[in-house]
Symmetry: C2
């Protein structure tokens, strides 16, 4: 009823009906008015009640109303007119759009990009459920929880303010050094600490490597069949993927030689994904020669080479090369656990600075406290002990799977025990529809991946079976069930 309010005070009664109650009164008043302005329920020029008056009406302190008004003035919703109180800003009417513009779903949301749709791979693995047979997931019930927890908690307690800066964004010196100390004997990797770059995942490493060595539209050679998550990232980085066949000795270098220009070739020499083949020495040397000749780089994805059951793991390409042509990528997702969220690049000296800049510029960074804890974990010998222990456990699981498959599959199907890694490729005749089998297996609660899904042009059929996460005694029954489904498909 005061002159400060347009028309009668009752005109704005709706604004505070029901009256704000409970906590955050200032915020509630602010929100009511803001929504009303945006939705044109409060028209430009409308005067608001004097703060004193509104405070009395709402039974709140005057300061609360003043604070809400001040905020609305600061944000441009209201204007303070000296001597004339507070009014709704005269915003161009058209801008406010339809009533309820702020919440209506009237306009259609624009679509995401075409390339966004290329990220369609399901996440790896099925979490903690110790199921049969998701590939790529290590055993989790054997994770050295106590040791990792202790290393992490110790570093968390000893946190220094220096750990909180932007410094060392490409990797903590202590982890870089410790990693080389581990990788040199274990993987034959030869590098100085400043060649080591720490990232949150192998995919982040692939992305940085592609950005570093290729222009958009350049050919990136990939193994076919190969690792779909790597293909996704390399293509998203602008690479045109050139599939190169894989035989019993690894990537067919003769086929690669026929590619006119390639700037990067991504390989899994220690344990080809998904075939499980180890690249022969001859092939390794030919590949290194070809890359040098062409001025191309090799991306060596050494994802699960730690687990080799017969002999010691095959030394890395990086070590043979002396690290000039090879960008080496390793991860703790398989050797330790995916939840660690740490992977690493070993860059050739010529690329180390550039790769580090790309990683930092793209913000592919890892909290220092996690890196420091991991360095301690490795230095204490926990990683080596865990790998040694898991090698025996995984070998037993592999044997159980091989035995059960051999016992239950028709003799037409050859079951070849992998020499390393966490999965077995069960090759099936070309007439088989491996996707349909995977579908049927899923209905029976068994995870597997179809070989044809790992391929761009390769025509082989098969099932990729991970034996790492399943409990040992669950493997034989699940394999028997799987064999029954596969057999039915072979007959049908």
């Amino acid at each position: 009823m005061r002159s400060a309010v347009t028309g009668r005070n009752d005109d704005l009664a709706w604004l505070f009906d029901p009256p704000p109650a409970g906590g955050g009164l200032e915020r509630q008043i602010y929100r009511r008015i803001r929504s009303a302005v945006l939705e044109r329920r409060l028209r430009p020029g409308t005067r608001l009640p004097a703060s004193r008056r509104l405070a009395v009406d709402l039974g709140v302190s005057r300061g609360t109303v003043v604070a809400a008004y001040d905020q609305l003035i600061a944000e441009g919703y209201l204007e303070a007119c000296t001597g004339r109180g507070t009014a709704v800003t005269a915003l161009p009417d058209a801008m406010l759009g339809a009533p309820d513009a702020a919440t209506a779903e009237s306009t259609t949301a624009p679509a995401s990009s075409t390339r966004a749709a290329s990220f369609r791979m399901p996440a790896i693995g099925g979490g903690l459920d110790a199921s049969c047979f998701p590939p790529g997931v290590p055993s989790l019930d054997t994770f050295p929880k106590r040791e990792w927890s202790r290393c992490l908690a110790a570093r968390a307690r000893r946190l220094r303010a220096a750990d909180m800066t932007y410094d060392n964004a490409a990797g903590l010196p202590i982890l870089r050094e410790t990693l080389i100390g581990h990788l040199n004997p274990a993987r034959g990797v030869v590098a100085e600490p400043d060649q080591v770059i720490i990232v949150p995942s192998a995919q982040a490493a692939f992305d940085a490597a592609a950005i570093c060595t290729t222009e958009p539209g350049d050919l990136i050679a990939v193994e076919d069949p190969g690792y779909p998550h790597a293909r996704e990232v390399l293509a998203a980085a602008g690479g045109v993927l050139a599939p190169v066949p894989v035989d019993a000795d690894g990537i067919e270098v003769a086929a690669l030689t026929r590619l006119k220009r390639f700037r990067l070739v991504a390989v899994t020499p220690s344990h080809q994904y998904p075939t499980g083949v180890t690249m022969s020495l001859e092939r390794r040397l030919r590949l290194l020669d070809l890359a040098r000749e062409r001025g191309a780089f090799i991306l060596e994805d050494d994802y699960d080479s730690e687990f080799r059951y017969a002999e010691r793991p095959i030394a890395s390409l990086q070590g043979i090369d002396g690290g000039r042509t090879v960008i080496y990528v390793g991860t703790f997702s398989k050797s330790l656990a995916p939840g660690i969220r740490v992977a690493y690049l070993i860059a050739p000296p010529s690329l180390a600075t550039t790769l580090a800049r790309i990683v930092v510029g793209k913000g592919q960074v890892v909290a220092g406290v996690v890196q420091a804890a991991l360095a301690d974990f490795i230095a204490e010998g926990y990683l080596a002990a865990h790998i040694g222990r898991m090698r025996a456990i995984y070998a037993a699981k592999r044997d159980a799977l091989v035995e059960a498959l051999r016992a239950n599959l028709p003799s037409e199907i050859r079951v070849e025990p992998p020499r390393g890694g966490l999965q077995l490729l069960l090759r099936l005749p070309d007439r088989t529809d491996d996707k349909a089998i995977v579908h049927e297996l899923a209905a029976a609660g068994i995870e597997a991946r179809a070989l044809s899904r790992q391929s761009l042009r390769a025509t082989g059929r098969g099932l990729l079976l991970g034996y790492a996460i399943a409990p040992l005694d669950a493997i034989a029954p699940a394999a028997k069930q799987l064999a029954a489904i596969v057999s039915r498909h072979l007959d049908g």
Copy 2:
């Protein structure tokens, strides 16, 4: 001298001279032979001493030699010929290249890509040194070390095996929920937990947003002047950057309207980088309207909006829009500390699933234990308390800088105190060479950034000065020194 060895046994004496000693004997034997094969010092076909004989010669156990041989056989360097001992594999001679091929620097290392060179920004800030005046670095000596350390150590101790899986790679549910609880009142953000995506950095968020909404070659509108680290990432994602001028109300929407097609526009509405301008409500509404009309998305970088000294921080664009058109990006690098290595996206509902897939597919992931600790830290009220405390400290530092600059600069230079954030833009006349001043300041131990370096086409000159990390009592003397250098340039 045995028949198993080609020629005389002495022929291979060089291989073990000096004899392997100390630990890791098996590894040493392996390495000596491998290098010799790769460097052609051991020719194909050469027979190696029988393992028993070599063991005696070297004074090691026979098992050690056998293990080394087995490994070399597995890797393809040696061949076991039944009844004829062990010989160097007949690898094609050409493949082994020049002697010392494995270590020689004879061939030139191929170069990195052109786009790699676009990542040339120096890392932000200068570490822990409490220097004057690096922009973008928060105060680190006031970091709530004890509270963060406690939250992190507690989560590290309570580690569950479930935290170690590939699950929740796009964000831990507890952090997603806690963040909304914090952002809704603090920033007016309106979202459901599944719209929140956790990434290691704001740059990772920009990258995912660009991949999600644009095709390579699409126009991405950016503020000019603007944030170079964002430009770097958006360009690396294939965007063609279209600079749009900024005036006292923020990005000039009229100029943006003249762009034919843009799919994404990146803005800093709360506190424009680097000018410090707050986008007016009218401009916000116009920008939202234009984006909706064009079917484009807005990337709202809300990097330091928590620190607003006069009134409450301006509510986010995301909240005005109801979250349909805006991809909101926030970070803990300014509000807490860069070393946390956590940032987040709030996606429109229409993009949430796709953006999460991109983030997981590109491996832009954060360790669950850090996320959980951060959720606890926020829920305990430590974040809000820290921000409240820092607001007062930063306001005092800002005032000290403004006062000292005003007292020591010629009246021609207007010093405008920023209403928020961690830096002040000191505008200089167009005739000034701001890069030269920055250079001279660096020589005097003072960090600053030239406005012209933050610009693509914009022509303004000035110095961007961060006042957050410097101790309060260091600000006035450094500002005085800075003013002297600037004054000299104005006169010269």
